[in-house]
Subunit: 347 residues, 4 copies
């Protein structure tokens, strides 16, 4: 049994990880830490786990937990992980980081967008970007996985085959995205108060959202050019789910089936990616509580553009599920282990 | 592998059953019928099952399906099941009926509340009421299971230990209940249109809801007296979940721990019932997408009454989950098979 | 123009008051105070008032504001109003208090339920309970109005004619109520965080909610007996609205039209009370953003009980609207002034 | 008093019109028609109007109603209005059409996008496009007003000053929009069923939404070039509200205050348009139940693009409120008459 540690286990991402691991055939949560709930049983914080009173939240001590666990998931504020993760820690355990610290290979860009100093530049070449559908082999070889952001996962998966194959221009990409409120976390904030978020839609962090450089880095890598795109996230009144609507200029003359073939080339054997049929748009409700990412597109001949939509559950494929997928790769397990979950509908 | 048939598979209850059986270790959906979607793949109707294109909806033919399946789940309008289920069908297969036709032993009462004729009075003594926590042994011995109603399950489980042990008066019981909208099904109706149901609370079928006699019958049986109670259901704007708030006069002088002990006597070893600690009220969010029923209570010394609350997911413990639990009992499987699901939160 | 002061203007109740007064024909907000937003324009705190930048939030100073305003609305934590309101203040202005300090004539009961000391016992006989449909004449003569609680308003209005006329037993009354989340205020709290309150129903403060003695006091006064009732509030996922479902034993043999006549006797000429027709249950969606209270009932012959439902908007008839109604009475205005609002649907 | 007729009064748009006219100082609903509810009082169909039993729904007869009413609002399926509205009707009354039939000056384009034949090409030059902030003088002179679509209003208002002044390129405009469910009307449809629309986001009619040519026509007119843009609408789980996020390439080098000045030039004296301050994004919650359109923008120097957001209530400024605004212009009333409504929050 793989011994799992979770640093920062009492956010929504951590709770989802605990849920997914609860019935994982080969892994078990061995240690979980929290800042606010030290000494409490996990089931007091998340009463859905009322049967699991034995998991008691402890103080964060990465060095110690690393020695005892085979893998440690980190859910820490940015700037902290790069301080805590050291060569010693990586000798003792494997790290799967939910945060941003090891995501951007361009560390200067990281420091600029995040406004903090990176403390582990030397570890960057050991970090793998945990998007299995694209970087599976890198992940298998690494002990330090940067789990991608939720918007990022949906955005990169939506556009990767197109940009990789030169089917779209690398300029003039416009991504709009909508996320459920859980994407903003469990911390108290007036904007996340029920009456403020309910029955409301807003764009936020317009032009400044930190998932932007992450999307750009990986799309740039795919096409070999500098992708600079416009990314606008929105908050919509629902608990879970992300829908990305990406809009790009077609660089080739292509029919629907041509583009579909292109997606199949990359994702045809990917269990967690489901391509929707012509005329069917992905909806967040069809992926709830599962690790699927649904992708569909429409070719707009009037404008010469393609609109690609992708839907995923921000807490699963956008966070904890993808992390478990990465863990499975690290340990040579079946990639679907613990993730064989039909989406819950209606939910 | 147990071969499963589902008659009426395209309601929310049917879809939840398909979800639960998708990863059941010992059962597999073999045939599924529909009135509206004959010939379509199940994944076209419920796109959350996008990977399961091989399940194609067929026309209803119970006699034929009974011959081919080890167990058939029925989701039919009331009055129809009692017509379709015959001795021959029960020789060929086992039936688990989501509807009301075989729930009330008092068939006259059934005909009065439902306003239809019962066509299988002769089968009534072969039917077991599928509330495993109370009637487990009966279920094991039967081939015809009347799966309880959603409100009923929550209401009976909330009050059973109290009334069985004489801790509450059998008169003056007042039950208020709140259900998510999926309880009303997938059929189109103005009251279930998004803008009509959203941001709204209403009581409905006041004094006339058909789960009333079902609750009364089983509580009467438990205490040996005629229980006549007031039941008022409400619709609240959420997808899933039922909360029952039952209010009864205490017949004994008892402290919280006394009543708690009484609940433990009946439910202490029941996996799917979770008793909440003193001061903690059950909430529907902690049981979503799981087969749990959470129960808690408050003794109100000012009024000499006890308020018992129970929360469950109307589509799982209130329908498909309970049905799978019954199927497991019928086939001598582990009762939790396929139901080892941590509640999804937030959902 | 009546000069209005608002102490504690930045809660939901205060904002609703500002909205209602924005187009009141005879009153204008002259001063508004806040603890958290001193110096900010009101439109920065509530952007729906983007056009009203001239209203700037000031520090609380009741004595001073009392001298300058014809009426002052208080929205203060309990225990504070009874300290701040003095004879001098009442000489300078009229007070309409959103809080509980002057609601209970039984001050001992107040101190017990609220756990604080009352500082103005001497003013209690000058306070009128601001439920115009019952105490209109008292209100007109007073300068200190205790604006009723939201649950209280809905509960008293639902049962008053019945208990006053002896149509129901004063014992065994069971009230269940459901409120939208705005009833809990704008203060941050994990239970009010979007993902925690959304898609969830729970009972809370079971047996201990402070509106209980307020309901009991006025129903007792109406029937001349000590009413001790069971009150259980619930939180449901919507912004606004309260639905009360009151359940009582009938003391008389009566048909629907008899009871209807009885309601008409008391409310027939009350503009803000709308009786629903037989078979129609009140729903919160029909009263949104208006000062109406809809009342309907069902006689349950099986149980000998009557179920009365009342629906109102907790921020209007349950708070700010009722306060404006009281202000209108205090100044001899048309009672509907500023409240001529058709309910907003869907909202 | 202006006598008002409403053809098709029982959709959400019609109900909102009845609400707004209920307290209009100079207009009164005189006749209202319906297909489904003939003979019923309006208050039976929309119980929020419980006090207005005298308005009884009648059969549609435009010719007759035109003779009796000073203005008639039409809410008819497309293709019908162009058949019903004739020169004779326009002699008898003024028409304000909620539908699309008279919106597009390019009637060929209309026929292509809507797939129906236009029956009144001869009346097209008498029709004014009812967007008062841009075409106020045309509206005053006309007797046939094409009330703009909801998405269209928000989109045109967002981009008009920029494109008119040459601040953005007329190519490469990408508009994403999100609408509450009421935008899809009150007709039953599985996609609008509560459990299907709740907790879900989807794009729909991708590349084919009929508001597209309407937006293009007016932006083209403004800049004198053929604007061909990409428009993608989304449905989000809330009752009301539209948020448009328009993304365009800047054609000039401009600071935030320069662009702001440009908006002020066009909208500075427009009561119903509110410009948000730098860094503040419009949110639908701040305009609920009001006729305001809030507009804000962000200049993205990295991409050389500008993101403009506009928020309005689809049933008010996007439909009934704008229609009343147009009626006020037609009759020389104060443009704000009946529309002096502070937004309702939270709602």
């Amino acid at each position: 049994m793989i011994k799992v540690g979770i640093i920062g286990a009492t956010g929504y991402g951590g709770a989802e990880l605990v849920r997914l691991l609860a019935f994982h055939p080969a892994a078990k949560v061995f240690a979980a830490t929290s800042r606010s709930y030290i000494g409490k049983s996990y089931s007091e914080v998340f009463e859905n786990f009322r049967h699991e009173e034995e998991l008691v939240l402890q103080e964060e001590n990465l060095a110690l937990i690393a020695k005892k666990c085979d893998v440690v998931f980190l859910a820490l504020p940015h700037g902290i992980a790069s301080k805590k993760v050291t060569k010693e820690v990586l000798q003792d355990t494997r790290i799967i980081d939910f945060g941003a610290d090891f995501r951007l290979k361009d560390v200067d860009s990281y420091e600029q967008w995040y406004g903090v100093t990176h403390h582990s530049r030397n570890l960057m070449d050991r970090a793998a970007y945990g998007l299995a559908e694209i970087y599976r082999e890198d992940i298998k070889k690494s002990r330090l996985i940067a789990n991608p952001g939720c918007y990022t996962t949906a955005s990169i998966l939506a556009l990767y085959p197109l940009i990789k194959e030169g089917a779209i221009h690398h300029e003039d990409i416009v991504i709009n995205a909508a996320s459920g409120v859980s994407g903003a976390g469990r911390g108290l904030d007036l904007g996340l108060h029920y009456d403020e978020a309910n029955e409301n839609v807003k764009a936020y962090k317009v032009g400044t959202h930190r998932h932007t450089p992450e999307i750009e880095e990986h799309l740039s890598k795919a096409c070999g050019k500098d992708v600079v795109l416009s990314f606008t996230p929105h908050m919509v009144p629902m608990n879970r789910g992300i829908l990305v609507t990406a809009n790009a200029k077609l660089a080739i003359k292509a029919a629907h089936e041509d583009i579909f073939a292109l997606y199949e080339k990359y994702y045809g054997s990917e269990y967690f990616i489901r391509l929707t049929k012509k005329g069917i748009s992905p909806e967040t409700k069809w992926v709830k509580a599962s690790n699927f990412c649904d992708i569909g597109f429409h070719i707009d001949e009037r404008t010469g553009r393609i609109i690609v939509m992708s839907a995923l559950d921000n807490l699963v494929k956008g966070a904890a599920g993808q992390a478990v997928q990465n863990m499975n790769l690290l340990f040579g397990l079946e990639e679907r282990a613990g993730l064989d979950l039909a989406p819950v509908f209606p939910a």
